[in-house]
Symmetry: D2
Subunit: 341 residues, 4 copies
């Protein structure tokens, strides 16, 4: 069901043209003449009307605006699947009662540092290891990551600790090498609407962490998930990591409202990255606790033993001892909302 | 200490003019010639440089930009007072270990409904009653509040329940009648930069809840608090209630990041209004829990027995039984972060 | 006509309840059962449904969302009055073929400076003089204006030059003194939703320049105009002056899109303030020209002979010679779009 | 020159550590002890300090914040090259006195329609033809473009009209086929921070139109240009096409302030896309005129003979006759600001 609102002075001829176009597409038109406007209710499976077709109707003579009633995403919606999706990765389940914490450095820098971090975060209770081998950096002069060598280090960290590996894919040309080493593929904020990359990862059977874009609405995020799912891959984990607003006191505005809204609109698991979201290490702990209280299924947290020497994002990384303290606090909050961690 | 950056081609004459102006105001100029830019460090008590004076320097020939090092707020800052401010209201203390919940209808509608709500929320654990008698409505055709009659009803609810009254002041001409009935004066979102109103409430000895404006940065909020404090009233409670962003799935974007940031920059107590922040009743519970996990000192929650008949903001009000359930959950989260409620 | 969309599982009982409520209010319900959702078309004069009543419907059991078809403003809308409103002030007409430029200092500082500016801008072609006597400043420590003395200076400038005076009202308690001296009352950005102030100026017969709030949507601006007009004062001039976005390279983001959108939705004249909008003097000229090309009916421009000594907003003020050059350029652009200046 | 501000209680040891780190990297530290803060001026070529290194300093004990004085982009900056860059494409020059208009359909749909549009827009004065063969669509169910077939049609339109072809590259795997047919490669909004794609087009000698991302600051846009230029390709044309704000009356907020700001910070040509920026055809004309008045070097405008049957973005396309009228108006505005078209 879509609603087409006509302009005040729309003519009978304009109305007939629109109704005929609707009927040609197999819809029925329910016309209501109000006191100020005439409104056409479109009856039929309007979820099949693409955005393009809807825009075409919006440009017809006599049309003031279109109200779409059905969300443009289908496979990702609660309408399509009412129960929560859970995703099995190794021996862990994302989206169930247990909250999972993914931890690690922003970028993989060298093997000893990575192994050291991996062992520290595992001891503290993290269940997944993260680290970037291909890094999307806003400056061409910044460290761009170690590439496949970084992936090998991650695989070694997995072997040593048993923790599955989460790492980012930036370029469809790297899909094979990423598939070889990763347990979960991360699609980063700046690639959330890189539709070719979304289609690429949608055609493989590997779980995806899909990060919300800096200016992506919640619906945009779900449409990006739809791109992946439309290719057959239903293992999508949504990740809130901060949006761009006028506020400059924080690097981004971590939007925790997205958690309950996503849970209402979609069946997919939702995790939160408070490190990128807030951008400063001393905001990570309060926002991580808040995320769990708001219903997140997991967290992604940056940990580095020497943030002042990190090759990227040092400003937002926790030291291992601070991470350990945080994990204890998170356990208490998780328990308070009926979850475990 | 302020920093004045000169344009690449700034002349010696322009530099001398700026230095002389600084010296005339009693400052010393520390000139550093870098490889690309010349930079002037302003030595002295630059907190006394007003925004106007700073802008005047910015408009001088040869100046590229000014970096201000010291925050423009003083009395509200942690630099000025390092310990947390606590505010005593009746037998309660805001800003201490105990988290306080203020509850009530958006607008006071009639006495029986108000008393009913007051007793229900008290039973559930709320410690302050709220309700609007003067309502800032975006439409001139919407219900504007009962005025003094509404204040009398609030006073009666206080008498019946012992709960102090929080209510909004919209117009400096209403200050006397508000002072007569209110225990805490609320300055609403749309008046956060109504500087005359801020000065007015600053010259009385009544606690103030100051709500963040829809497009106010955290620094703007602290400058508004400074306006009140500059008149002598230090009893300011800061309230996060949602900012305006591009996201349309929620009425506003409740910015919980503001809690730890405000706690870092200021000594004032911080409370959160998840009802206005998210704008839909089913988001109130998760965001209320998240606010406490993030370190809020209190919450303001709208409660109405029949939201579908409320004269304002029905969409975001909780029914008393949902509020009761929420209060139990909030107690658990408060305990998990070392607080009581 | 409003549209009420029901949730997928809404019951027949819920539907009946909603229909009965609509009928009680004198509306007819047109029910369409689509393949995925049931939708109720509300027939009757739905412009009388207040935001409150609409929210109350939104909170009823079974309701997913409400789509409002009719704009919430009436008197300010093109639906209500299709021809352009023109406002006569002294010998000038705002909203006609001629574009008017209001110029002057941000704040009135002293009589000689004001007279000097007034004569300079008149010579260059400005037709109105502006200057603040009551200044809304974000810092309590900044210059707050000369008060009534400033108004007297403005009146003297009017006497010397014949230019009508535009000045800001910040507080309803100042209405009498402002009415005594001003030809046009400015309602500033931070007071755009100070509803008491809007009602106050609505009950007098003086033209109003209403500045768009930093986070006000175009509809919010028109609702603020509606507040004034609902009291009987139809002489409202809308002013775009920049909105708050994530961009930090400019003080605000001057939103010129607002010009054609306001012209489409409303019959009221539209002016632009590029000085506050962009916040830097070297952006004023290009944005002023762009505003006229986009269809603005007037401009408000800050001019100061010594911006580096101005008591407020020096950074965004033009010197008289730059203003003179700009006026020549503006004349050429006005002519190119079929206007005069 | 960068500025490191220390926290109020920073210790002498912390200061020494920071100074030593700076000296290790070859910089000199100029220490100023103000009355409230100690500030370190970093002397040397700080443009070589990457964002990573800067963040690492920000995370050192005792540091409150870092102020960067030098812009993070170099090759794209006016500091690096003070004169305007002009780009020769066929017989046309972008960035000179003449303003160029690129026109065409959003997506290439079929050959006859494309040729028809090409001939119409050429007749009206357009000098470049645009059309998408690979389309970034927010829905996986929308028309995705004709691929290489669409490129062939564009090449045929070029042959018939002599107009160079502008078309979008979405995926680095398509670079060869795009290079084969395109005269100018467009990098779309959603790929502005697809760093691999930027590097790819940077390593070829083809002019690039780089569209500003929906949430990209002006500095982000210049950093994206830097990515391309760092690989050796200096032929970058910057394109403003609307940013995401809270305003919902327009699809995006076309930010014309970006034109003078980009012209101040960079030597690269700047064009504007009012079709995507405003999102509705009746806003295209006023915003196109405003863009030229503000100093744009070119425009990109969508034209379609039957917008109501267009396969994408019909709502924002002009019909050929409206485009023709607009071109005449644009010529007048161009002349008024000393340009030709």
């Amino acid at each position: 069901m879509d609603i087409i609102v006509l302009r005040p002075g729309a003519t009978a001829k304009e109305l007939r043209y629109i109704v005929k176009k609707l009927e040609n597409k197999g819809f029925k038109a329910n016309i209501s003449k109000g006191t100020e406007r005439t409104v056409i209710g479109v009856i039929g499976d309007t979820s099949k009307i693409t955005e393009d077709e809807s825009n075409a109707f919006a440009s017809m003579a006599g049309v003031e605006e279109i109200h779409r009633i059905i969300q443009p995403f289908k496979l990702a919606s609660r309408d399509f699947k009412s129960g929560d999706t859970t995703i099995r990765i190794g021996k862990h389940t994302i989206g169930g009662k247990r909250i999972h914490v993914t931890a690690g450095p922003c970028a993989v820098e060298n093997l000893p540092t990575l192994l050291n971090i991996a062992m520290e975060v595992k001891k503290a209770g993290a269940t997944f290891i993260r680290g970037g081998a291909f890094k999307p950096r806003t400056s061409p002069y910044s460290f761009q990551g170690l590439g496949e060598e970084g992936l090998k280090f991650l695989a070694e960290a997995r072997e040593k600790t048993g923790m599955p590996v989460v790492t980012e894919l930036m370029d469809p040309r790297d899909i094979d090498v990423i598939l070889k080493y990763a347990d979960v593929i991360q699609i980063g904020t700046r690639n959330m609407q890189n539709f070719r990359l979304l289609s690429e990862v949608g055609s493989h059977d590997k779980p995806i962490v899909l990060k919300r874009g800096l200016s992506a609405t919640i619906k945009d995020l779900l449409m990006a998930a739809e791109y992946i799912m439309a290719q057959g891959n239903n293992k999508v984990i949504l990740c809130e990591r901060g949006i761009r607003t006028f506020e400059t006191a924080t690097r981004n505005t971590l939007d925790l409202n997205a958690i309950p809204v996503l849970k209402k609109l979609s069946h997919l698991p939702v995790v939160v990255d408070p490190s990128h979201g807030a951008g400063k290490w001393d905001l990570v702990a309060p926002m991580a606790k808040a995320a769990i209280a708001a219903g997140a299924d997991g967290l992604m947290i940056e940990v580095h033993p020497k943030p002042e020497e990190a090759l990227s994002d040092g400003e937002q990384s926790l030291k291992p001892d601070k991470f350990k303290t945080l994990m204890k606090e998170l356990k208490a909050v998780a328990k308070a909302v009926g979850r475990t961690l």
